[in-house]
């Protein structure tokens, strides 16, 4: 019996101490990690979406509340005027969630570009969604919000050959982005006025 109690006590204390330490560390490194993700993953994608912007979209960002989810919105300024925004969306791919950044022209409510950021798709097949220019270019210039679906599902998106599920995931992410945009647009406009 004493053995039993000792086991329980030691394990509990050890787990609690470890949990506490990790929570503190996670909190301490949160900003640094967020910064690294922005620099290493978001920055190249934003660069691909916002061509010829006059500002640094990573610097000019703000957070808006979408229901109870916090979303980061990046601003693209052309000749000093904020004309476009970009934000994250995601869809389910073959190997997990596909993270997508979607850029929207706020004057015309039009997609200006889509770029895949984080994914766990198969190298050489689904992973091409990140690099294949023609696949990504399909979304450009379309009105938002709109429904996107791959051709196999009766939609209008050409799939990457051998990667239907990935393509479906990206289409889903863009569709979701449209809905997100509808919800957060008032907040975006308010923020841009400031």
């Amino acid at each position: 019996m004493r053995d039993m109690i000792k086991m329980v006590v030691v394990l509990t204390v050890l787990s609690a101490a470890s949990g506490g330490l990790l929570a503190a560390l996670k909190d301490g490194t949160k900003d640094a990690i967020e910064n690294q993700v922005l620099q290493n993953e978001k920055a190249p994608a934003l660069h691909a979406i916002f061509l010829n912007v006059s500002n640094d979209p990573v610097e000019d960002r703000f957070k808006v509340m979408d229901g109870d989810v916090e979303r980061t919105v990046f601003i693209g300024k052309y000749d000093g005027e904020p004309k476009a925004v970009a934000f994250d969306s995601s869809g389910s791919g073959y190997g997990g969630d596909i993270g997508v950044i979607v850029g929207v022209n706020i004057e015309k409510d039009e997609l200006i570009g889509v770029a895949v950021t984080t994914h766990k798709e198969t190298p050489g097949l689904g992973a091409r969604a990140k690099t294949d220019k023609t696949f990504i270019a399909q979304f450009k210039g379309n009105a938002i919000p709109d429904e996107y679906a791959v051709k196999a599902d009766g939609g209008n998106v050409d799939v990457l050959s051998g990667a239907t599920i990935t393509s479906r995931g990206v289409a889903q992410a863009v569709t979701r982005a449209g809905r997100i945009y509808e919800r957060i647009k008032p907040e975006i406009l308010e923020n841009l006025k400031k």
Partner: protein
């Protein structure tokens, strides 16, 4: 058990160098050694976990009930692995991306658990620290070496901090060596060389 502290340290570098002599910890040794930098990075991450967990296990060796010792070791190891992961993510993001899933997998690296069970739980703090550092350094050297060989043949480069072209532009890389089967071949050849040298 009459070994001195320096002997405990040195044994990890040759007599018990993990992937070559103990043939332990092969999963990361084979998977991440596509470049020298990745190998060394993985080795250093493992060393950190190994030293910290050896220290803590050794300190707590009289408190931990023997029936739940493995669970306790895993909690200690997992804690330090997550510490490594967070710190690496915050300050060495590209390395973190390259090593990917293999950082969390240090938790189940049998070198780390093996040293806790076989050494740190039976020895006092100083020898345990020396053992952790020795084995960790040995692991780092082994992974660095494996990475260097594979990268040199498979890609014609050596990555210390930046990529250095060794063979020049006319070199036709033998890509097989950076692919997974190449890891087995490289490891096999290393073991072979170790055995030839070590043969009495």
């Amino acid at each position: 058990m009459a070994k001195s502290i320096s002997q405990e340290f040195v044994k990890g570098l040759w007599d018990e160098i993990p992937p070559f002599r103990l043939v332990l910890g092969l999963c990361p040794a084979l998977a991440v050694t596509t470049t020298m930098k990745n190998g060394v990075g993985m080795g250093l991450a493992t060393t950190f976990v190994l030293v910290c967990s050896n220290l803590l296990v050794s300190l707590m060796r009289n408190i931990i009930p023997s029936k739940v010792r493995i669970a306790c070791f895993i909690i200690i190891i997992a804690t330090f692995v997550i510490v490594t992961e967070l710190v690496m993510q915050a300050y060495a993001y590209t390395l973190f991306q390259n090593l990917g899933i293999f950082i969390p997998l240090i938790v189940v690296n049998c070198v780390v658990l093996g040293r806790s069970e076989a050494f740190a739980s039976k020895n006092s703090v100083l020898p345990s620290l020396a053992d952790g550092m020795g084995i960790g350094l040995g692991f780092t050297i082994a992974l660095g070496l494996l990475g260097a060989v594979r990268e040199l043949i498979g890609n014609g480069t050596i990555t210390v901090i930046n990529e250095i072209q060794v063979f020049g532009p006319s070199f036709e890389p033998f890509e097989f060596m950076v692919a997974p089967p190449g890891a087995f071949v490289a490891l096999g050849l290393m073991l072979c060389i170790m055995n030839i040298i070590g043969k009495k």
